[in-house]
Amino acid sequence: MCKIQKDKFLSEEQVVNKMNEELKKLYKTVILKNNNEPFAFEKREEAEVVLEAYNQICGDRFRLFFEIENDKIVNLSFHGFGCAISKASTSILVKHLEGKSLIETKDILKSFLNVINPEGIKEENIEEDFQAFEAAKDFPGRSKCATLSWDALKEYLEEK
């Protein structure tokens, strides 16, 4: 490559820094925190609904436990194992959907999935918790991790 062209690009050091930026973006504190201290992480086999979210490609497997009362999702908790991203995204799901009506839930699902969708249009006023997962778009191997439990819940509600 000739000099002029090269100047247009980032230096190697900048590239490495950018990489680290990407990484930090991906694993932002939101994710690490929710991975280490997940929200409502408990089994509740007796729950009315026990929903499995399973990624056959990597073996990640979570279960969501909840009831639907007066058209609202209540007593939401989860359990299982998976990578930091799938675990944190499930934790965030639980945190944001507890006590929400089914109509609200639909909007929230849409809003979250839109953040990860590479073709999604950037909306305004997105929850900070959700934005943390935006970087998953840049990791095609990992976007499924971010949406695993969300997709499962969406499918469940659509089929209901």
Binding site: Q56, I57, F139, P140, G141
Partner: protein, 409 residues
Amino acid sequence: MIDPVNIRGEFPIFINNPDLIYFDNAATTQKPAMVIDGIKDYYENHNSNIHRGIYDLAASTTKKYEVVRQKVADFIGAPNEQSIVYTTGTTAGINLVASSFLSHQLQAGDEILISAMEHHANLIPWQMLCEAKGAILKVIPINQDGTIEKPLYKALLSPKTKMVALVHVSNSLGTINPIAEMIEIAHDHGIPVLIDGAQSVAHYEIDVKALDVDFFVFSGHKIFGPTGVGILYGKEEHLKKMHPINFGGDMIKNVTFKKTSFLDGPQKFEAGTTNIAGIIGLGYAIDYLNQFDKKEIQKYLKHLRTYAVNKMLEINGLRIIGSINNGNNSTDQAGSIISFVMDGIHPHDIATILGVEKIAVRAGNHCTQPLMDFLELPGTTRASFTIYNTPFEIDKMIDALKGIQQFFN
């Protein structure tokens, strides 16, 4: 408009061998630079195993790989990519349908119906299945002009018929079968149909949804793509019911030493590491073909065929096998394949001498031995054309054929 000279320039083999006259396209086509370079680029920049890979290369390769499935679906008018199974070729696709779709349903006394002009690939799998199950292989006869005997087709369908398997364009005679009509008739009897599109997809618009065909198979290497890759299209309802016959990695949901469950999609038929480079190459071949209007291709090939047939008929003692032989000069039932024999000269001698003149044609039974038996021929010489062939090349062949005749007399 098809511009063969320009097209030739896109094929490295013709750049490297400007005087090569390649008339063996029914056996395998040459490959455009786009396909060859695409494979090279894959190995030089993207090579990695797909699925479960997380690093950049693996993720982008997986994407590239799955994009081809959608591309194939669009190419043949399939409703979606879930109905597209990657195989290793036409032969593998037909065998999969025989073993995995029909085998479990077929009872002793049931019938499978094929035509007299099938390639061995669309004959032996059914024959073996019949042998194993005590079922009966029935064969639709053909007319002397190489067309299906349509009245007999209807007569041969019965409540016992469990499958109709037909070639779209015959690789030996060039006959174009009226598959839309034949599929409809079979469906009226509730019989599923497999179409062998090995010789048709490169040149004809295929719309599996409009055809309502149950299975459609073809090979990459005959449509300007690489060897070792092919496609089985199947209606999703059929694919869902079919059990895999090859087992290994990348096709399972869950495995223990006691029990295994399989993926739902076409991947369940794709055990192990597939021909990743080949599949990506097939994607490029489809991109290549998509540049052309199929109608233009057909127009051009009809022109080539008519040109060749008219000149060949001037040669004494040369006989074209199939529809054109009947003085029927319409080429609507005949594709870009011409099979012929010459009095007193064996097809292999013709092919050898043409070969010395750098004209590549094929001689023999073309994997349709029973058809040759029916025609009472030991074999034919076959010239098959595609978009990079020219009338000038045909002139060269005609001159060579005349030379051969002199030589032998």
